[in-house]
Amino acid sequence: MAAASLLEMEDVRAGYGPTSVLHGISLSVPEGEIVSLLGANGAGKTTTLRAITCGVHWSGSIRFAGRSLSKMRTEDVVRAGIAHVPEGRGILTELTVEENLKLGSHLRRDGAAVRKDYDRVFEYFPVLRERRRLSASTLSGGEQQMLAVARALLMRPKLMLLDEPSLGLAPMVVRAIFEIIKAINQSDRVAVLLVEQNARLALEISTQAYVLEVGRVAIKGASAELKGNESVRRSYLGY
């Protein structure tokens, strides 16, 4: 816990209408690190991410780069430097691949750096260059996930929130995407908060992990430790 924390959540409660989902979550994401958020379905992983970008009503305290996100609008949280790849990927299927990417970079004014980032994104995901004039709805699930990650990368965020990037993808594609996430994290020092069902893979690339259980943090610790702990693995991570 040496690095300064970029994102700090304290006793965050949230829910949908009368149903409360998070019962006081505290977690922190240090600058430049990958943190995994694990747990069963319905544990509150997606809601935690949605609270950060204010897609759900929450109470408690969420601070990003020293600034409180309380009462902020989603678009302003995003503009502050948080890229959120939501559940379902958030692809705009009426638009082309290229237009989707442009929506990632539309707020940036550093033209030369943007062009470089496009080159890099196309290097990571050559298929997006080939398909850039096609409607995003024609992409396969794996390609849509690539597009979502690429678009988030073009936003040049300080923090990326990734909601189940492996969902519904072939194991090979999952590997490739995780390697790229790791590469992005290392080359740009982008911090990542990764929600993932595939605990084994998530623990491999993250430095710290939190396991949620019905809206509370059940376990937290260094990823390497959790991975090595047989009983934690069996009872919480299911592998």
Binding site: E75, G90, L92, L103
Partner: protein, 293 residues
């Protein structure tokens, strides 16, 4: 044959007027999933603004863009003040609000300007020019030119600029757009502003032909509905093509079908609406809406 060509060109000119108002309807339909029943009345009010400016000695070609800018600002103001409070309300509530808005704007115009029809100037003469043997008025050619320029400008704005891209994104996927930093609420307001300005073009083009009075747009809006439905209510291109088709059809029907004449032209438009809804509910350019269950 020349007579037919003449009627077609004249129909295209009327079609340009329908197309502009239909495009306004489509812009708002895309932004909020509802038809703005006040669109015609807003266009009429903007036309009165243009009339007032010209009446006070402003030249036509300055009054025209100034009226569009005022219509644009007015559209944004209406969205912020009247529509935004009911944004999350059920669709029927919003429909009633736009109907109420139509009545309000109509009454307001009547209160301020009265109900006596006024002649509205046109910068184009009604003299005709010989095109392939057909006599076409400069006014029709002017209306076609102005509509083309405006529709092209909107197309370029939507398809080729960043603002246009974020506008389309906000209309189709508000939640996903917010996560990309798009200020969705302002984009919807901008959509209302644009729709209001495009609608104003329709009113200003129609006024010299119809005479300006508060109920001027009430038939035009029916033709615009027909055009938008024919083109597929979500498609801007469809609205334009639909507008031209409706304009030409109505004109030809009025000329060549003796029982239609001048009196039943509106019935032709309604027949188009009903026919499209029965035979091809998504219109010419609309996508079939598929829902997963």
């Amino acid at each position: 044959m020349q007579g037919l060509l003449q009627q077609i060109i004249s129909g295209v000119a009327t079609g340009g007027i329908f197309a502009s108002l239909a495009l306004a309807l489509v812009l708002i339909y895309n932004a909020m999933g509802l038809v703005n029943f006040a669109q015609g009345e807003m266009a009429m009010l903007a036309t009165f603004v243009a009339f007032t400016l010209i009446d006070h000695g402003m030249s036509y070609w300055i009054a025209f863009p100034v009226a569009l800018v005022i219509a644009f600002a007015g559209g944004i103001a209406i969205q912020r003040v009247v529509i935004r409070p009911v944004e999350r309300a059920p669709i029927l509530t919003m429909v009633i609000v736009t109907l109420g808005l139509a009545t309000l704007v109509n009454g307001l115009a009547g209160f301020i300007f009265g109900y006596v029809p006024r002649s509205f100037p046109s910068p184009f003469s009604v003299q005709t020019v010989d095109i392939l043997g057909a006599f076409v008025s400069y006014r029709d050619l002017g209306v076609i030119a102005v509509s083309t320029v405006v529709l092209l400008a909107i197309y370029l704005l939507l398809q080729r600029t960043t603002v246009g891209l974020t506008l389309r994104a906000a209309a189709h996927h508000p939640e996903a757009s917010r996560l990309l930093g798009v200020r969705v609420s302002w984009m919807l307001a901008l959509g209302w502003g644009l729709a209001s300005a495009v609608g104003a073009v329709s009113g200003i083009m129609a006024a010299p032909i119809l005479l300006l009075e508060p109920n001027m747009m009430q038939t035009i809006i029916i033709y615009a509905f027909a055009a938008a439905v024919l083109g597929g209510i979500e498609s801007p291109l469809g609205a334009v093509v639909g507008g031209v088709i409706v304009g030409v059809t109505v004109n030809l029907a009025g000329t060549y079908l003796p029982f239609v004449g001048g009196d039943l032209q509106l019935a032709v438009a309604l027949a188009i609406i009903v026919g499209v809804l029965i035979l091809k509910p998504n219109g010419l350019f609309g996508r079939p809406s598929v829902r997963r269950v």
